[in-house]
C-alpha cells in the first residue's frame, strides 16, 4: 500500500508531468535521419584533412559519412536519456542551445533513486528493469529529443526505482 502511494506521488507530484504539459510539443522538426547543410559541409571539411594518399582518404571516407552522422544523432539522444542530470538537474550544466530545459525529478530524490537502483540489484531485478529502460530509450531516441511527449513514457520506469528506494529508506527508519 505504501509503495503504491509513493509510486503515485512520483508520477503526479514530480515536476516532470506538469512541466511537460506546459511545454510546446515539438522543439525542432528535424528527424534524426535528416542532415543539415552545415553537417554536410562539416563532413566535407573534415574529409579534406585526410587528403594525401589513397589509404588516408579511404580512412576519411570510412570515418566520416552520412551514416556516421545519423548514428551520431541517435547516439546523442540515447546518451542524453542515460544522463542523470537530464532528470534531476534540468540537464545542468550541459543545457542544450535553443532548448528550455525542465526539471523532471526533484534533485533531492537522486540519493533515493540510487538506493532504488541498489535495491534492484539486490533483488536481482536490475537486468530486467535496465533492459526495458534501454529498449524504451533506444526507441524514443529515434524521435529525437523533439518528441518530449514521448519521453514521458520513461516516468513510470523512473518512478518504480524511486518507489523502491523510498520504501527501502522508510523501512530502514
Amino acid at each position: 500500500m505504501v509503495g503504491r502511494i509513493v509510486f503515485v506521488f512520483w508520477i503526479f507530484l514530480s515536476p516532470w508531468l506538469w512541466n511537460t504539459l506546459r511545454r510546446p510539443v515539438l522543439i525542432s522538426s528535424y528527424p534524426i535521419w535528416r542532415l543539415g547543410e552545415t553537417e554536410i559541409d562539416q563532413i566535407n571539411y573534415y574529409r579534406d584533412t585526410y587528403k594525401g594518399n589513397y589509404w588516408s582518404e579511404l580512412l576519411g571516407k570510412v570515418s566520416l559519412n552520412k551514416v556516421e552522422k545519423i548514428w551520431g544523432h541517435w547516439g546523442s539522444n540515447f546518451f542524453t536519456y542515460l544522463d542523470l542530470n537530464y532528470y534531476f538537474f534540468a540537464n545542468h550544466p550541459r543545457e542544450r542551445i535553443g532548448v528550455v530545459e525542465i526539471q523532471r525529478l526533484y534533485f533531492w530524490s537522486l540519493p533515493i533513486f540510487l538506493i532504488g537502483l541498489w535495491a534492484l540489484v539486490k533483488k536481482k531485478l536490475f537486468k530486467i528493469w535496465f533492459s526495458s529502460f534501454l529498449g524504451l530509450v533506444g526507441l524514443i531516441s529515434l524521435f529525437g529529443l523533439q518528441g518530449v511527449w514521448v519521453e514521458i513514457l520513461l516516468l513510470p520506469m523512473m518512478a518504480v526505482v524511486l518507489t523502491l528506494g523510498a520504501t527501502y529508506v522508510f523501512k530502514r527508519r
Binding site: 571539411y45 573534415y46 579534406d48 584533412t49 585526410y50 588516408s56 580512412l59 576519411g60 570515418s63 566520416l64 547516439g75 546523442s76 546518451f79 542524453t80 542515460l82 544522463d83 542523470l84 542530470n85 534531476f88 538537474f89 545542468h92 550544466p93 550541459r94 534533485f107 533531492w108 537522486l110 537502483l117 541498489w118 540489484v121 539486490k122 536490475f126 535496465f130
Partner: protein, 514 residues
C-alpha cells in the same frame, strides 16, 4: 620469463608505442602552457632560475598559471641532456603514461591495463605536456604501495605510499584536495590494518610530514590559492547564488555530471584544447563494462575500498568549479573508471562471442583514435593548440636581424612564451630583463609582463592607431588586417602570411613602409 611478466611487457610495449611514436611531430600544435613549462625547465636546467630569475621556486608563476613544481624539476635532467624541444618537454608525461599502465596492471591485472593503454583520454594527456598526468601517475604509485602494504603489512610500504602521495601533491592542484581526503577515508576504513605503536607511526610519518611542510606554504600563499580562489564555485566570478538550496542543487549537479555516461562515453570535454575531435573520454561501447563494473560494486563483489573511495572523491575538485566537465581538473577520476570498466568486462569475458566482439571493437576503436589524433584534430584544432606560433617565432627571429622594431600582438595567446621557447632564448639574457620587474613573486597574483626583449615588443595592437609607425613590423591578428585593406594601402607591405593548416590566415606580418 613467466607468463605474467610476458603479458606485462607486451602491454607496456603497446602503451609505449602509442605514447612515444612520433612524440613531438605527430598530433596537435604546442599550447602556451606547454611552452611555459618547457621554457622554465630549460631555464632551470641552465641557470637554476625560472623565467623571472627566481632561484628554485616552489611554484612557477609564468603568466599567472602558478604551475606546481614537480613536472619542472623532474624534467630538468631530460631537457639538460636532450636540449629544449617539443619531444623533450613532453617526454616525461609520456613516460608517466607508460608507468601508469604498469601501475594499473599491478592493481587490477591484464584487462584494465590494456584498456588504459588504449584509452583516448590517457593517450591524449600522455602525449602532451600535462603536469596533471605526472601527478596522477605518482599518486597511482602511492596507491600501489598502499595495496602492497595491505597485503604484506610491512611498514616500509606504508611509508613509501604516504611519501609518494605527498609528492603527487606537488604535481597538480587536484591532488592537493583529493589526496588528504582519500587518506582520511582509507585510514578510517582500514583502521584495523594500521600500526598500533607510536614508534611505528613516527617512523612511517617522519619523512612524508617533513616533505609535506612546504605544501603548507603552497596552500596558503596568494600564489598557491590563486587557482583555487579564481576558479571555484564560491568565487565572485562564478556568480553562484548564496541560497543553501540553490548551492546544494548546483554542487549536486556539478558532482553528478562527472558520472554521466553522456560525458564519459559520448560528448567528452567541451573545451577544444582538452579533447579530440569526434572522440570522448572513453570509447562509447565501454559503457557496457562500466555499468557491469558498477553492478559488481553494488553486489559487493568489488571490495577494494581504496578504489571506490578514489572513484567517489576524485571528481570533487572539478565539481567545485563552475566549468562544465573539465577533464583535466578531474583527471584523477579516470583511472578508477578505467579499472571499473576493466573489471566489468572481465566479468563478461566468460563468453567467447563477447571476447570476439571485444577484440573487433578494440581494433576498430584504435583505428578511430589514430584517425582523429593524426589527421582530424591537428587540422581542426590547430588554432586552439597555438599551432602557427612555431612558424611565427621562426619568422620573427629572422626579421630581428634586419628590422629595427617588431611588435607582436599579445591579445592572441601568450606570444612571448612561445617566442622564448621556439627561439631557445638565452635565459641569462632574459633574466637581465625580468629581474628588474618589481613584484612580489608569491604574494601578487596580478599580471606581470615585460614589455620588450631588445627590438621585439609584446603589446596589444590597436591596428587603426598603430599603422602610422613607419619602419615598424607588426605581427598582427589576420582578422584585424584583411588583405584587401593592406594591399590598397601604399604605406603598408605584407612581409609574410602565417596560416593554419587548413589555409585560414592566422597572423599577418605587416611593415609600415612610409
Amino acid at each position: 620469463m613467466s607468463l605474467k611478466g610476458g603479458k606485462l611487457l607486451i602491454i607496456l610495449a603497446i602503451a609505449g608505442v602509442i605514447r612515444l611514436w612520433g612524440l613531438g611531430e605527430l598530433g596537435m600544435g604546442f599550447f602556451r602552457d606547454e611552452a611555459a613549462l618547457g621554457y622554465n625547465i630549460y631555464s632551470m636546467a641552465l641557470t637554476g632560475k625560472d623565467e623571472f630569475a627566481k632561484t628554485f621556486p616552489i611554484i612557477f608563476r609564468s603568466f599567472e598559471v602558478f604551475f606546481l613544481p614537480l613536472y619542472v624539476y623532474l624534467s630538468v635532467p631530460i631537457v639538460w641532456v636532450l636540449g629544449l624541444s617539443v619531444f623533450s618537454t613532453r617526454l616525461l608525461s609520456a613516460i608517466a603514461g607508460v608507468v601508469a599502465v604498469g601501475g594499473v596492471y599491478y592493481l587490477a591485472r591484464t584487462l584494465p591495463a590494456i584498456l588504459l593503454a588504449i584509452s583516448p583520454w590517457h593517450v591524449f594527456f600522455s602525449r602532451g605536456t600535462f603536469e596533471g598526468n605526472l601527478a596522477l601517475t605518482v599518486f597511482l604509485l602511492g596507491v600501489c604501495f598502499w595495496v602492497k602494504y595491505l597485503k604484506d603489512r610491512k611498514l616500509k610500504y606504508l611509508s613509501i605510499s604516504l611519501l609518494t602521495t605527498v609528492i603527487s601533491m606537488y604535481g597538480y592542484q587536484s591532488e592537493r584536495l583529493v589526496v588528504p581526503l582519500w587518506w582520511m577515508c582509507n585510514l578510517a576504513i582500514y583502521k584495523k590494518d594500521l600500526p598500533r605503536k607510536f614508534v611505528e607511526w613516527f617512523k612511517v610519518l617522519l619523512f612524508p610530514v617533513l616533505l609535506g611542510l612546504p605544501l603548507l606554504f603552497v596552500w596558503f600563499s596568494p600564489a598557491g590559492l590563486h587557482r583555487a580562489s579564481g576558479v571555484s564555485l564560491f568565487s565572485v566570478n562564478a556568480n553562484t547564488s548564496k541560497s543553501v538550496v540553490n548551492l546544494a542543487w548546483k554542487i549536486g549537479a556539478m558532482y553528478s555530471h562527472y558520472f554521466s555516461p553522456k560525458n564519459l562515453f559520448w560528448e567528452g570535454d567541451y573545451d577544444k584544447q582538452r579533447s579530440l575531435v569526434e572522440m570522448s573520454v572513453f570509447y562509447w561501447w565501454w559503457i557496457v563494462g562500466w555499468i557491469n563494473g558498477i553492478i559488481l560494486i553494488f553486489k559487493n563483489k568489488v571490495k577494494d575500498w581504496w578504489l571506490v573511495s578514489w572513484w567517489l572523491l576524485s571528481p570533487i575538485p572539478a565539481a567545485l568549479t563552475p566549468d562544465t566537465f573539465h577533464t583535466y581538473r578531474s583527471l584523477m577520476f579516470y583511472i578508477p573508471n578505467t579499472i571499473i570498466i576493466g573489471l566489468g568486462f572481465k566479468d563478461l569475458f566468460k563468453s567467447k562471442v563477447f571476447r570476439i566482439l571485444f577484440l573487433s571493437a578494440s581494433v576498430f576503436s584504435l583505428v578511430q583514435l589514430f584517425s582523429t589524433y593524426v589527421y582530424l584534430t591537428p587540422m581542426i584544432r590547430a588554432k586552439d593548440w597555438d599551432q602557427p606560433f612555431k612558424e611565427t617565432a621562426a619568422k620573427v627571429s629572422s626579421l630581428l636581424k634586419t628590422e629595427k622594431k617588431i611588435v607582436w600582438d599579445r591579445r592572441i595567446s601568450e606570444p612571448y612564451i612561445q617566442y622564448l621557447f621556439w627561439s631557445k632564448y638565452d635565459p641569462v639574457k632574459l633574466h637581465a630583463v625580468t629581474k628588474n620587474l618589481e613584484f612580489d613573486y608569491y604574494g601578487s597574483v596580478g599580471e606581470v609582463r615585460f614589455s620588450h626583449l631588445d627590438k621585439l615588443y609584446f603589446e596589444p595592437i590597436n591596428w587603426g592607431a598603430r599603422k602610422r609607425e613607419v619602419g615598424t613590423v607588426f605581427v598582427v591578428d589576420a582578422a584585424d588586417t584583411p588583405e584587401s585593406s593592406i594591399v590598397t594601402d601604399e604605406r603598408l607591405k605584407i612581409i609574410d602570411r602565417i596560416s593554419l593548416p587548413d589555409g585560414r590566415r592566422f597572423f599577418n606580418v605587416v611593415k609600415v613602409i612610409n
